[in-house]
Symmetry: none
Subunit: 85 residues, 4 copies
DNA sequence: GTTGATCTTATTTCTC
DNA sequence: GAGAAATAAGATCAAC
């Protein structure tokens, strides 16, 4: 086994370690942001809002944005094709 | 929400608007962090690492942490039960 | 489902009916088992045990199993990577 | 610590052990049934059905059943109240 | 009766 | 792109 590709140099191991550390740090961050979102919903609920409805609104707005982006993309494709961009 | 159906005061509407804005901002942040995680995996893959194996390692380490946390919780339950906490 | 919109043949409808029946039968079974689990906890509680602590123990044991499974998986990934499996 | 309530007799410990074993066995069973349900959905999907729609149907039928049960309950209450049952 | 915990469903993400 | 797995969301239920 010693002479297989599984033997890593110190530099390689270090690279791996750093990668895993960064991934774990980012995963933590991601969780924190997710918790913050949850907090905002909780606040709104405490204020008397129907969070389920708000979630739908957020989803719709996201779809709208995606649609707008899509249209922008098509537009820019056309502009490039016509030499106008 | 209120007895008065869906009639909202200006202040209430403003509260709602701000909440949605914050949620959308945070969702964007969350997506950025998710993308960064993806990038790290891509880098490691480009460097020659087996990302599937790395994902397994990350998962295992997460399970380890969950287990340690659970043990702490059990310990604290035990200490409370015995009157030592 | 098909180009012909929602027009189903008798055989297809029968297939659907049977599937739904099986799902409902299984859902019932699942509920029965869930109720049995609840019963066991109730018994233990009646006997004087702290069910919260027991739930923690059950959870910890489950985490243990998950971790062992994950380690097996990593091992097998490693064996495959080194050409030993 | 030895003289606190945390000292269990052999019989008590055995009771606890058996309870946990039963819970774990039942949890396994429950998971198996859940997997079987998943299998049926997978089959229906492979057959060309829209499983999301089927899930809605199943949910509606369950609500219907609950409603019917509710009506039966009210009816029987009335029958008992009037001395007819 | 309201929070907190658990369980289930639904959506998203990853792997093959 | 289909199937599997992870994450997130919602519903449900018990405890205080």
């Amino acid at each position: 086994m010693e002479d297989t590709a599984t033997v890593l140099t110190e530099a390689t191991k270090e690279k791996l370690r750093q990668g895993i550390t960064r991934i774990e740090r980012l995963a933590e961050e991601k969780q924190e942001v997710a918790d913050q979102i949850k907090d905002v919903y909780a606040e709104l609920k405490a204020f008397g809002f129907d969070t389920k409805a708000i979630r739908q609104v957020v989803k719709l707005r996201k779809l709208d944005r995606a649609e707008r982006d899509e249209m922008d993309m098509i537009l820019s494709t056309y502009l490039i094709a016509t030499g106008d961009a």
